[in-house]
Structure formats: C-alpha cells, structure tokens
C-alpha cells in the first residue's frame, strides 16, 4: 500500500502551463477505472508526461500519466476501435494500465508513436547516440574541459579550445632556445643593457 508521497504540484502545474506548444495535443477517450466507460478528455503531451483535462482550455488538469518505463500498444478490437494501451510491464503487480481510444486511425497511430518515444530514458539514449555521431564527425574533442568550456562559451563551442599541452611544449622549447642565446651573448661580453631580454620579434 503506497504511503503518502507528496508530488509537489507547483512543479508539475508550471510545466503543464508552459508557453511552448506541447509535443502533441488532441482529444482522446480514456477508459475510466471505475465505470469502464470511455470519457472524453483533452490531452497534452509534454516531455515524459501526458496531462489530461476535462475540456480544452480548462485551467487545472484532471490528471497526469507518467510515461517512463511503459509500453504503448495498439489494441485490436472490433468493439473498441482505435484503442491503445499504456501499461507498465515492470511495474508492481496489479498496476493499472491506461486504455485510451482515439477518434480515427491516423490520430491513434500518431499518439502511439508520440507516446512510445516520450520517455526520458529514450531521449537520453538518443542524445548519447547523437553526441557520439557529432564527435565522430570531427567536431569538438572529447575532453571534459572542452565540454565544460563549450557549455559556457559560444565561441569555444564554435572553434574549440587551443591545444594547451602543445602550446606549453612549444613555449617551453622557445624559452630554452632564448635562454641559451642570452647566455652566449653574455659570455661573449656583448652589450645587452640596451636590448630586451626577450626578443619579441
């Protein structure tokens, strides 16, 4: 029996009212757990959450369905056309599934496609895949420093970081050369008082 975990509604309601358009919206019929009747709902998909209202334009959603760890399957049914089910195969036993019906074939297919690719886990896997492709295409290097720098600087994101190790090596070699030259000149008794210690030319 679940305890009384508090889902802070401010966090959720704010998201449900975001100015950006939802990922998908439309009318769906949701089968009631109690009465088994299908009830018309206005649905909006945002991220990994499916919000539903009684009517489009109502302020507060009636509820939300978490789309994480779920499967979305078409239901073949002569009596209940255009239906699909959101279920949680890894969930605890007795976990409810959500039976939904769309208004036509196209709407059903669109919703099933959108809902089955809505999870955070799916997006994360996709993102990792694309990140890999991006690097493989010869873009930014993979050092954490570059990653972090790129996040803060659009310039770095655009052109990358200089090769600090290489530069350090290069400067080191030049300093050794200059120092050797300076010692030579001193040993030879040359007047260096007027000149710069470091030849900046």
């Amino acid at each position: 029996v679940p305890g009384h975990m508090k889902l802070h509604e401010t966090s959720v309601l704010g998201y449900s009212r975001a100015a950006a358009p939802p990922d998908r919206q439309g009318r769906l019929y949701k089968k009631s757990e109690r009465s088994s009747a299908y009830q018309r709902r206005w649905c909006e998909l945002r991220g990994n959450l499916l919000f539903y209202w009684e009517r489009q334009g109502d302020r507060e959603p009636l509820g939300l369905i978490l789309l994480e760890g779920c499967t979305v399957e078409l239901q073949e049914s002569a009596t209940e056309p255009f239906t699909f089910e959101i279920s949680y195969p890894q969930g605890p036993p007795g976990h409810r599934a959500y039976k939904m019906a769309a208004e036509d074939q196209a709407s059903m297919e669109g919703w099933v496609r959108a809902l089955s690719t809505a999870s955070f886990d799916y997006l994360r896997a996709l993102l990792m895949e694309l990140e890999g492709q991006y690097r493989a295409s010869g873009a930014l290097g993979t050092t954490p420093l570059e990653e972090r720098a790129a996040r803060h600087s659009p310039l770095v994101a655009a052109v990358g970081l200089p090769d600090f190790e290489g530069l350090h090596q290069q400067f080191g070699e030049e300093i050794v050369k200059l120092r050797a030259r300076w010692r030579e000149e001193r040993a030879g008794g040359a007047q260096t008082a007027q000149g710069n210690l470091i030849d900046l030319e």
Binding site: M5, S11, A18, A20, N48, P61, G63, E68, H95, Y134
Partner: protein
C-alpha cells in the same frame, strides 16, 4: 490533480543518476533543515527520510531554476513561484557544484534542446538527418524552431 502514486514510487526505486544524504529545507515559513536521502531519477528529484524505503516527496525538475546560494548550499525554485525555494545544504562545496550541474542537466527540456542542437549540427556536417533511421524525424518534439534554443 490525479496521478498514480504507484508509478512514481516505481520510478523512485529505479537506479538513480545521483543520490546522497543532504540537509534539505522546504519553502514553508519556519521550515528547518532536515537530513534527507535525495535521489535524482530522470527528471524527478525524490527525497526520503534517511531510514525509510519510500520517498516522502517528489519534485518535477522542469521549469525550474537551480541557484547557487551561500557556501555548500544550492536551491531549487520554480519559474511560477521564484521566491519559494527548496534549499539543500551539502557537505562540501564540491558536492554542491556537482549537484547543481547534475540538476541543471536533468530536465527533459534541457536534453531536448541538446538533441535538437546535435541533430542540426550533424545535418549540417553530413547532409543527413540522424533521426531518420529511427523513424522519428517528423516528431514535433525534435523540431528546430518550435522552441527557443
């Protein structure tokens, strides 16, 4: 607003991106710092009493700001109520920075923007849409231009 507590509980039991015992304070006036097990799973932050298996609360990490406060402390506030802050006091500044970084990247919206960025860049570099092979090129959620980057 109805939601399935079972679904959330199930989520809270999944492997966490990050978890630690942190002192936490709710935005309510007169609230005190309490030690909680704080667990980040996808875009939810669950928090537990340290000796309990079920979370006492969950925050959805969307439309929120993660703010650096004083030393070792960060806060989470939601755009609709910027003055109500959930405060977290870490053991060290390093831990604090790690959490800030992790939480900022924990939103669906952040990941979506990153994905759209990479999709666009890969398309520019290779001439091919990397999402085509997954059959999701037309999904509204992955389109450039429908949301601010």
């Amino acid at each position: 607003m109805r939601y399935s507590e079972r679904e959330l509980l199930s989520l809270s039991r999944q492997p966490a991106e990050k978890a630690a015992e942190i002192l936490m304070r709710a935005p309510k006036k007169g609230s005190v710092l309490k030690k909680r097990l704080v667990k980040l799973v996808v875009n939810f932050l669950f928090y537990f009493r340290t000796d309990e298996a079920e979370p006492i609360g969950a925050l959805l990490l969307e439309h929120c700001k993660i703010n650096k406060e004083e030393e070792n402390v960060f806060s989470i506030s939601f755009i609709e109520e910027p003055d109500r802050k959930y405060s977290f006091e870490c053991d060290t500044e390093a831990q604090c920075q790690e959490w800030i970084e992790a939480l900022r990247r924990a939103s669906y919206e952040f990941m979506r923007r990153s994905l759209i960025f990479y999709r666009n860049e890969i398309q520019k570099m290779t001439g091919k849409d990397p999402l085509e092979q997954y059959g999701i090129s037309e999904e509204a959620r992955f389109q450039l231009g429908t949301r601010k980057l």
